[in-house]
């Protein structure tokens, strides 16, 4: 019996850059067979990097390598009629089609859901776009920062007097992808009962606005409250903040009074320092948060600046105070905890070499997450898929290549 959760599942991915690729990767990592269909010039992420020594090379983009491990790769010009027919032939033999193209383009190519459903009623078509398949902005153009702008996540990040900040390294695409993978699994479970496929419409802006940002809507409608940006802290109670220390930053949230008291005792060398206990303004942590936060930041600074984040982390955790370091990316990659757990995986790619990659987001006891193959070279599996699966001869393959179709 296979120990792959998604064993036997056939997925075709046809998209650009991040969201469709990460969605299909999540399925490939649990054992689905993913065929990535790239245009002859290759996926956008092949041109994105990071590249070793910053020298662009289509087989060496770190982002492409990360997003596309565990996949077979073919090239196909879907804008050509013959190419399009070849894609349809593949889709007829598949369970899931993941794409992130503009709805208009899919319709122009005859790859809209109604057409695909006529071709194969059991096919699940998963579309990930910035704004979705319906609504007045469906045909708007969008990149990651536009999804997070409309979706509202950016509005809350950054300094209140300055521009809102987009979360780093494509989080709109990440969220679109993981939600799409989950929704696709729901559709697959439904298909186990009904035998029918369906269209899965995931809009990144929708995911931000509802899943990440829906909790505050009640307070707006009934209490007129709008959560604004608040820099390095979150309003509510003090401390709920990120502060500098000797060698970086620490993240300090004390949800409960006893946690804060234990921290003050740590700062005061056993007792709550007098500058705190004697000051009548420092009684109510809610009031402290909106009135005296700057002053408290400076009062804590001398102690914080004397200690490294590691020291603060250890001293706090020994006392069950839930403060943590703000790890740099270097510290994350070298973190003994993550390395002891085997979080990072080394993958040797024939074009790029051996690098450390982020590993499993989850551990399944019976059906492990596994990397079985590195990301495909451009068109690496053309022969395997076109000849062995679709029955083309090598001569035909050469002709198709000559005609710019593969």
């Amino acid at each position: 019996m296979s120990d792959k959760a998604l064993s036997g599942l056939k997925v075709i991915e046809y998209g650009q850059f991040y969201s469709a690729a990460y969605c299909a990767k999540l399925m490939g990592d649990l054992g689905a067979e993913v065929i990535k269909v790239e245009p002859p010039e290759g996926d956008e992420s092949r041109r994105h990097g990071p590249f070793p020594d910053d020298i662009p090379h289509p087989e060496k983009s770190g982002l492409f390598l990360y997003l596309n491990a565990n996949k077979l790769g073919i090239t196909l010009n879907v804008r050509n009629a013959k190419g399009r027919q070849m894609l349809l032939d593949l889709l007829k033999r598949s369970d899931v089609f993941v794409e992130n193209n503009p709805p208009k383009v899919m319709a122009e190519l005859g790859l809209d859901y109604p057409s695909l459903s006529r071709l194969s009623p059991s096919l699940i078509v998963t579309s990930i776009t910035p704004y979705g398949q319906t609504g007045p902005y469906r045909d708007w153009k969008g990149y990651d920062i536009n999804s997070s702008g409309l979706g509202g996540i950016s509005y809350g990040v950054g300094d209140p007097q300055r521009e809102p900040l987009n979360l780093p390294v494509s989080q709109s695409h990440v969220q679109g992808a993981v939600h799409a993978a989950s929704a696709t699994m729901v559709a697959l479970l439904a298909r186990q009962a009904t035998g029918k496929g369906q269209h899965v419409d995931v809009a990144e802006a929708n995911v931000w606005a509802a899943f990440h940002g829906g909790q505050g809507v009640y307070s707006y409608v009934f209490e007129g409250r709008v959560r604004k940006r608040s820099g390095h802290r979150t309003p509510g109670f003090y401390p709920y903040t990120i502060l500098p220390c000797k060698d970086g930053y620490v993240s300090m949230i004390a949800g409960r009074g006893h946690q804060w008291k234990r921290f003050l005792e740590l700062v005061g060398g056993g007792e709550v320092p007098e500058w705190y206990s004697r000051d009548p303004r420092f009684r109510d942590r809610l009031e402290m948060s909106w009135k005296y936060a700057n002053e408290l930041d400076s009062l804590l600074a001398p102690w914080l600046m004397k200690h490294t984040k590691k020291e603060i982390f250890n001293l706090c955790q020994e006392r069950r105070i839930p403060f943590t370091p703000v790890n740099t990316i270097e510290e994350v990659v070298n973190e003994p905890h993550l390395n002891d757990r085997g979080f990072f995986v080394e993958i040797n790619h024939p074009g790029a070499g051996r690098f450390k990659y982020p590993g499993p987001p989850y551990r399944l006891s019976e059906t492990p997450w596994r990397v079985e193959r590195p990301a495909p070279l451009l068109g690496e599996h053309n022969e395997e898929i076109y000849c062995k699966r679709l029955g083309y001869s090598r001569e035909e393959l050469i002709r198709l290549r000559g005609a710019g179709i593969i």
């Binding site: 990149y143 390294v169 989080q171 993240s251 905890h337 019976e366």
Partner: protein
Amino acid sequence: MQYPLRDYRVLDFGWVIAGPLLGQVLADMGAEVIKVETRKHLDEMRQSPLNTSRDPEKDPVFHTTNRNKLGVTVDMSHPEGRLLLKEMVKTCDVVAENFSPRVMKEHGLNYESLRRIKPDLIMVSLPAAGSYGPLSHIVTYGPTVSSLAGLDSMVGYYGERVLGSQGFYADMTSAIHAAFAVLSALYYRNNTGLGQHIEVPQWEAAACCIGEAIMEYTINGRIIGPRGNRHPTMAPHGNYPCKGEDKWVSIAVKTEEEWSAFCNAVGNPPWTSEERFADAASRLSNVAELDEYVAQWTRNHTHYEAAEILQRAGVAAAPVLDVGERYLDPHFQERQIYADFEHPAIGKDIIAGLSWKLSATPGGIRSPAPLLGQHNDYVFGEILGLPQKEIQRLMEEKVIY
């Protein structure tokens, strides 16, 4: 079929954010999700900072993350409470929890114990740092997990101090990663009859979201720090000021075609033809000056106007919306991303809608978040078949509490 997961039952020990959100996703799709609570330790989200009444039945955050669920109250520190919970586990397909790793074990409710009474059980745990490893014991809050995972170290203005993401990103992203894993495990169970345990460490789920930055370090040894809205290959790329107080429009230009569309849309002022902005590489090296010029144009328009002008020209742009604008936005209204209905404790309630649209089996919001213990009678009486007198006794002895 509106509710594709209607044949599945979930016992949801989730509390605060990550666990309840996972249950929310399954409940929206029709699973019968039974939320286990106790009056002894209220879910903190019954008294979140957004709950101005402090009444645990009136918390808007709780109402959003626990809609569509049934609610029971059981004290799991009571031996009889644990027996009751185990009886419930026998009737469930999935058990979900996000306590510290030791809690379920201490109460004899870890996977090893539960699989003995329910061999094909799928159990999912969302600890902060995992159940093993040198830091498995640490105490955290959701936002501090974003700090551990490296995300926060990249949030700040270009070259300035770290501000951090200031939100529950790690909770949210681990919840949806967990949903995918649970649904995949159900798919596998339906094919093979086998259950399993799934661990979703929030730290690791969050670290998977910043793969590009991790690869930048493992490939080139380069540490990405705060870089504001700057992008490695796109310029202009940012949130630019607009007419009105605290209004912004997001703009991103990737190709040369988009650049010339942008120049046309803003009326081709002289700066757009300067050599230092002629191609992407030049724009990236002069990005501070470029951003100032772009802002000169955006300041003359509202954020919606700016987005519409640019979109008409073929440039990616969208207004940056606050919560009120999202609620009123015509696109979001048409997509029904918020839902309103009656809640027994507060009357008219407004909560988040669904993340996605499924054409054939959409799921939906069919009931408000449960009051404390609202479904004790149904769950213990009808599902477990306990006589009313026995339920009464368990309540008096504060097992059901």
